[in-house]
Each structure stands twice: as C-alpha cells, then as structure tokens.
Amino acid sequence: MGFLQPDPFLNELTSMFERNRENGSVWVTFKRSSMKSKVQTNKMTTSGEAIEYRCLIRATDGKQKISTTVGAKDHQRFQASYATLLKAHMAALKKRERKDKKKAAEGDKKDGGSKKKPKRV
C-alpha cells in the first residue's frame, strides 16, 4: 500500500484492526518529519529557510505497511477520527472499575447490607 492520504489511511487502518482481531498485532508509530532528505534539510537550515514539519504516521500488522502525513493545519481533524477509530477497535482491554463495583454490590446484597448504591445513568 505504502503512502496514502489521511482518509484512505484511516480506512486501511480500520481494515487492519479488523483483520487482526483473532490473531496478530497492529503497530502505529508517530514521528516528526520534514518529509525531505537529510541533504535538503541541511541545505535549508544553512540557508535559513523555514522547514515545514509534518507528523508522519506509519501503521503495520507485520505484513502490510501503510503511512500518511499530517500537517499543523489538519492534525486536529485527523486526531478526532483516529480517536474514534481506536475507541471502536480497542474493545478487548479489561474494564476493571465496573467489575469491582459489581462485585462490591453483589457482596453487599449477600451480606444484607442496608446501603443502597444509586444507579448511575
């Protein structure tokens, strides 16, 4: 796949997460980059030109590699979509607090505790 625009990158990342649900890992890496070669960046720094840096985002599942860049102007929109994507796919992590509360509630009921915990809506 290689280098993509931000929106197709997010679509590919979604399918990567879905493909690796049963087995496998997904790695996502962020790095600051000027997207130019070292020679060019050195030339630009010596001549005093302003270098535009972008955030390079790479993702892989061990088999397929995809990447995209995000600049200073469009990073907020990307980060919001990225956050929703992660929330949707990182469902396998343990939800500890609710289990503790449930156990505590069950424990109170068994003991015949008078305290009633109000339901949170």
């Binding site: 649900r21 790695w27 996502v28 962020f30 790095k31 956050a83 929330k87 796919h89 939800k95």
Partner: protein, 190 residues
C-alpha cells in the same frame, strides 16, 4: 528500555524525551486484540554523554573511548561510517545527557550527526548520575489506560505537527472545553 508503571510519570518523561530530541524520537503503539494488550513506547535513538571529573583514571578512559567513537563515526573523508563498526565495542560505560564538544583538548565530537547505533551499551560500575535514555515503555491491559492514551496521542499530534514548543496545557484544556459543551441541553433548563 524501561517499563514505567505510573501513567503520569510515563507521560511526563515521554514529553521530556521528545523535547530533548524531536527529530529522532518516535512514539509507537502496539495493540493485540487476541491478548487484550496495549504497549506504548517512546523510542529515542540518541545517546548523550558527560565527563566524570572526579576519577581521573576513568576520565581518561572515557576520553579514549570518545576518541575511538569519533574515529568510528567518521571515515577519512568525514562521512559517517556504517552501524556495524559500532557493534565492536564491548566495554561498558553508561552515558548521560548533555553535549560535550571538546574533552580536555580531545577531538571535536558531534554525536548528533552520527548515525544511530542502538547497540552501544556502555556501563561503568561505579559511575554516578549517568543515565541512558533509549526507550520508555508502558504496557497495560486496562481500558481506562486506552482512554488516557487518547490524550497522549493528541499531545503528540500537536507536538509533532506544530512543534516541540507547543504548550501541552492548551491541548488538554481544549479537550476539556470540547467535552463540556456536549453535556448541555440534557434535562431541564435551569
């Protein structure tokens, strides 16, 4: 590589590490749905060093080592050599952060231009205040940490896209502002 147990400490140190070297620091996330595990890593391929002035013998040792590194990192034409030569070093000395341009009349060394050699691990047994910042790691299987990670993602997006001088409190402050208006409109108007 260090696994950090405290989330707040991980965030603070990772931002510090990034700001120390924004060009080479990478923020990586690994997620395994089958195991329900999440690992965050802040990788810096950057090694700093300092002089140990108290012990003259060891100081000389460091000096010789730095000279060797300088020879190693630059060929006769001044171009950086390959990574393979760095693996030859077997003696151990831990470096600390800092820039040393001249070591008591020794050669001029600019490690920032040297090619990254992650295999250089050098430890001196009795050395004090020496650290190697290569990598910070945080692992978890808790959903609450994934929520905290979202904030860290936003912090790094801003730091990397806009620059290392961005004020982090602005980013977290904006998130709170965005979260609050969503609650308005429910229930009775007061």
């Amino acid at each position: 590589m260090v696994y950090i147990t405290s989330w707040d400490e991980f965030v603070e140190r990772s931002v510090q590490l990034y700001r120390a070297d924004p060009q080479s620091t990478r923020y990586c996330m690994k997620y395994r749905h089958c195991d329900g595990k999440l690992v965050l890593k802040l990788g810096g391929i950057w090694v700093g060093f300092c002089c140990i002035a108290k012990r003259p013998k060891k100081f000389v040792f460091v000096l010789c080592f730095l000279r060797a590194m300088n020879i190693m990192f630059t060929s006769e034409k001044g171009k950086p050599r390959t990574k393979k030569l760095a693996l030859v070093i077997t003696v151990k000395v831990i470096f600390t952060l800092g820039k040393v341009d001249r070591v008591l009349g020794g050669p001029l060394i600019d490690l920032s231009k040297a090619k990254p050699c992650a295999c250089i691990h050098i430890c001196m047994p009795e050395a004090t205040d020496l650290h190697v910042f290569e990598c910070l790691k945080f692992k978890t299987d808790q959903a609450q940490d994934a929520k905290k990670m979202e904030k860290l993602n936003n912090i790094f997006f801003a730091l990397m896209a806009r620059g290392p001088d961005v004020n982090i409190s602005e980013i977290t402050g904006k998130e709170q502002m965005e979260a609050q208006p969503g609650k308005k409109g429910r229930g009775r108007k007061q």
